[in-house]
């Protein structure tokens, strides 16, 4: 931790009950090596106890602290202040897009969670089905195979960044489609049928913002394309025989 202190202004989105949203400003002295979430927490602790924000693990595993920082979706527990600001800057903090706001920086992500359940995304997967893109420690399951926690932490950044999700709540969205891909990677004709619709895999317009903002190596854009190919293969198979 450096001993340097920066003076940074935080413009935080506030919204309570039925009032229109507004921005409150807080001038903080921060260590540039701190995370944006640390600053938000300090605002809550020492400036305004009515500030509502979501956070839990503080190490990019739970997916709770997703917010828009200067307009870009970030997992605030792993976003260094020096990454997105300088001494004297203003940092704008807003809730994720495309989810209804409950209060201040907290959004209702229940559609994401229920969507994941609907497509059968598994929080724990065999290592063979989801190769590690980072340095992780797989664990041996009872049957001897290696298992790991799935990359997706259900933070919702991808849905916030998706242009299609901005205008329609019907679209499954990148997180859920990536989850469907994970669920159906070794078959899963039912899942494939579920996403083979206008609001599923065919709604994506290849903006790849989801992949850009994902903090957890999921690459949802790529997964959607893989899912499209799996859907087509399944359709062709069913044309010439039975679906697997």
């Amino acid at each position: 931790m450096s001993t340097q202190k920066w003076k940074v202004t935080f413009k935080v989105h506030r919204q309570k009950a039925n009032n229109s949203p507004n921005y409150d400003e807080y001038k903080l002295e921060v260590d540039p090596e701190e995370y944006v979430l640390d600053a938000v927490e300090r605002i809550w602790a020492f400036h305004d106890r009515s500030l509502t924000f979501a956070h839990a693990c503080h190490h990019s595993t739970c997916g709770a602290c997703g917010m828009r920082v200067n307009g870009v979706e970030k997992l605030t527990c792993i976003t260094f202040i020096h990454e997105i600001a300088k001494n004297g800057s203003t940092i704008k903090i807003e809730p994720l897009r495309n989810f209804p706001v409950i209060s201040d920086l907290v959004v209702d992500m229940s559609t994401l969670y229920s969507g994941m359940e609907m497509v059968g995304q598994r929080p724990i997967v065999p290592l063979s089905e989801e190769p590690a893109t980072s340095d992780i420690k797989p664990v041996k399951a009872k049957d001897g195979d290696y298992i790991r926690l799935s990359d997706c932490i259900e933070c919702g950044l991808c849905i916030s960044a998706c242009p299609v999700a901005t205008t329609t709540s019907g679209y499954f969205g990148p997180a859920i489609l990536a989850g469907a891909r994970q669920a159906s990677i070794n078959g899963g004709a039912e899942t494939l049928k579920l996403v083979d619709c206008a609001d599923g895999v065919w709604r994506c317009h290849s903006a790849y913002e989801c992949t850009e903002v994902c903090p957890s190596f999921v690459e949802p854009g790529k997964k959607i394309m893989q899912l499209r190919r799996a859907v087509l293969r399944s359709r062709i198979k069913s044309l010439f025989g039975s679906r697997n």
Binding site: V164, F172, C197, W202, R235
Partner: protein
């Protein structure tokens, strides 16, 4: 909410999407032919009414242009439909949209074919 309607109405989304892509590929091919063939007429452009009539005297040209018309109109309308779908219309609205787009498609195609054949007839 991932509204349950999206599970209830699978839509022939895959079919239309694939058709859009296929039509797109055809457009690229036919457009290239169209540009090359135009280049060999007159001074490299159809600059007078007579040029156009002479151009359409060739039945292969008529065939190519009519195919081009059908392919472009279809691709364009399927594309417009996609954009409208992004706005989360209700089932009822979408039925109307589908009707309107289909009518526009049929009318443009019939009109275009009529026009092509009419121009071709000027040189008979």
């Amino acid at each position: 909410m991932i509204e349950t309607k999206s599970i209830q109405k699978p839509d022939e989304a895959a079919g239309l999407w694939l058709l859009k892509v296929l039509l797109g590929v055809l457009i690229i091919i036919i457009l290239t032919i169209h540009l090359i063939v135009n280049h060999f007429i007159g001074e490299g452009a159809l600059l007078t009414w007579q040029d156009v009539v002479d151009y359409f005297a060739n039945p292969w040209i008529v065939f190519m242009e009519i195919t081009f018309l059908v392919v472009v109109v279809s691709h364009s309308l399927i594309g417009m439909r996609s954009i409208i779908l992004d706005l989360n219309p209700s089932k009822g609205t979408m039925k109307i949209v589908d009707w309107v787009l289909s009518i526009i498609g049929v009318v443009s195609t019939v009109y275009g074919i009529w026009l092509a054949l009419k121009i071709a007839s000027f040189s008979v």
